[in-house]
Subunit: 385 residues, 2 copies
Amino acid sequence: MQTIPRKEYEERIKKFQRNIREAGLDAVLVHSNESDFANVRYLTEYWPTFESAGVFVPAKGAPVLIIGPESEAYAQGRSVIPRIAKMVEYRESAEPDYPGIPVAHFPDVVRTALRGRPLKKLGLAGFSIMPLPVYFSLQLELPGVELIKADDTLTRLRTIKSANEIKLMKKAYKISELAIDAILGEIKPGMTELQVIGIAQREIYKHGGEYEGHALYCFYGPGTKHAISRPTHNTIKRNEIIQLNIGARVGGYSSSVGLPCSIGKLPARKKRLVEFGLEAHIKTAELMRAGKPAAEVVREYEAFVQRRSFKQFMLYGPCHGIGMMEVERPWLESTSTYALQENMTFQVDTFFQDKDFGLRWENGVRVTKTGVEKLSRKFMHLVEL
Amino acid sequence: MQTIPRKEYEERIKKFQRNIREAGLDAVLVHSNESDFANVRYLTEYWPTFESAGVFVPAKGAPVLIIGPESEAYAQGRSVIPRIAKMVEYRESAEPDYPGIPVAHFPDVVRTALRGRPLKKLGLAGFSIMPLPVYFSLQLELPGVELIKADDTLTRLRTIKSANEIKLMKKAYKISELAIDAILGEIKPGMTELQVIGIAQREIYKHGGEYEGHALYCFYGPGTKHAISRPTHNTIKRNEIIQLNIGARVGGYSSSVGLPCSIGKLPARKKRLVEFGLEAHIKTAELMRAGKPAAEVVREYEAFVQRRSFKQFMLYGPCHGIGMMEVERPWLESTSTYALQENMTFQVDTFFQDKDFGLRWENGVRVTKTGVEKLSRKFMHLVEL
């Protein structure tokens, strides 16, 4: 099973601890759940499921993985850090009591991790998904400890990818391409959107994926207008847009390849926006290179769309970070205040919508000194079957 | 697409509002996310994905669905309640800024829902997954409003299933059985655990499922010891336990069918625990009927396991609620304080673990006046292929 070597996990912890010290914190508590699994997995390889998970990382010394009452055997077999505590705050949302299963409390975890060193300032990473029971227990059980949002201490590590991470991402993109190949070979009028998803799922697992990289998209006709949606039992017909966004995950790293396609020819009005979308998609990648301010890419992209008179069809864009999560920090927005760096990885996500349809071209890129390396380039053309 | 009729959603809101008033609350704010989607979907049919979602339900009057900045077209097409507000607190965990997309704040939502009536006590449902940004905005934007954990106002509705809900659950169980049929027809030594999951996924979508009902399990050999885990690229061999837990979801309702099986004969020691597990599984269903205290079922189950000298292999059990979530309230535990009621639905979840393997029999039941109706009974025998 392809994954990140143990040594790289140890280096991640060391770098994270350096960031914790630089931020003037005594420790950081990291949070993840089943669908937002990345922060905890980045540090431990442990992927929480059903229950949530945390990692308590002291500024110096050994971190502690925190799991729910049911996950002990799973965590022992999977976590690269050996200290593991079970806490009721990380149980399933159905809130079982688990009579007879002994659990730890935050002071136990703090004692294990800090070994008598003081805890005055505790950073919180994964703040946007940290649930209330964890926070209220921190307040109750660690009185006087200052709790501070500290996502940046961790996410700025995750933003720059290592060679091992890039390798896993490339494999994930390759599997996404294979799944799309299979779909284009089997798709027929009368099939439901969800049947198409079934083809993708079969291929993802067959070729070595561990899971879908995101909720997979196959939308037909008017359903393509939605920036976010779920596939339905609607059946696919000829001469209409079919939107595919298919992503595999490999060793914790996600991918997505997106293309509009059709069975038979598309009507001219729709084809025009699809083709402009592809132009804008290719243009975005041309605007990117290490050192360039993220906001400048966005301004140039928006000026390009404006100049070509397609601004009214733009909802947002043109890129978001990709890595463990299919959508992760940082986004490219007009409000962004950072510059692109080598080995940042972005999903070029080119979405346009008209009143009755939409389309989305998606492929990944790795930022290089002089431009970008494309993580997938197989489906950068309009497929009319 | 099979789903719950609109009229039933309206009845749910009315019953929920009665509970809100009885609890002395002015409104309840309900929370859901992508993997823990049930509370919001129960009230609106809207299933959040990528972004999270809330429903602000006043004690009287019209509720408001709250979504993230990207989900408007999707929510308009899906929500059975027409008032929809976009809020930045419900955005993706990558925390994009979305410049140019106008968003609402809690006072706007309160004004729309309460129309000038006072808000003094606000209940919170989905408390165990409510994230900090939502809570801190409530505190900041609604000063003086008392925030009170109020899951019970909603979950006691969800606990008793309607005829429509039972129908969707039965269809989901049927699809799970079809997926297991396909697996048993195709599984071979040398296949990976994840390839088996690919077969299940293909069948779930082919037969009308909307998604997996839970993270699907195929574990081989020592991996079967884990109460919670994820399938791997380990290959399956003959004469060893293969644990399958396969669940489809239909119209928002989840299922799971679980059985240990093998290719070739199982060694006698393992077969003995597998067979006792099945006995305990069947016994559990025999102990259940409307009116019986939940804790009494657990005591009788545990006494049965003890009497037969298998207590050392028991981690927990014997049942948890099932419905929209594959695991939902209530659990059957020795600490439970409620009695079983007609049309409660439970997953009989019989898990035993020895030092080097484990096994789990799982099937659903609906509680009736005199006992239970089984939602799946096809795989209640040891399959040695």
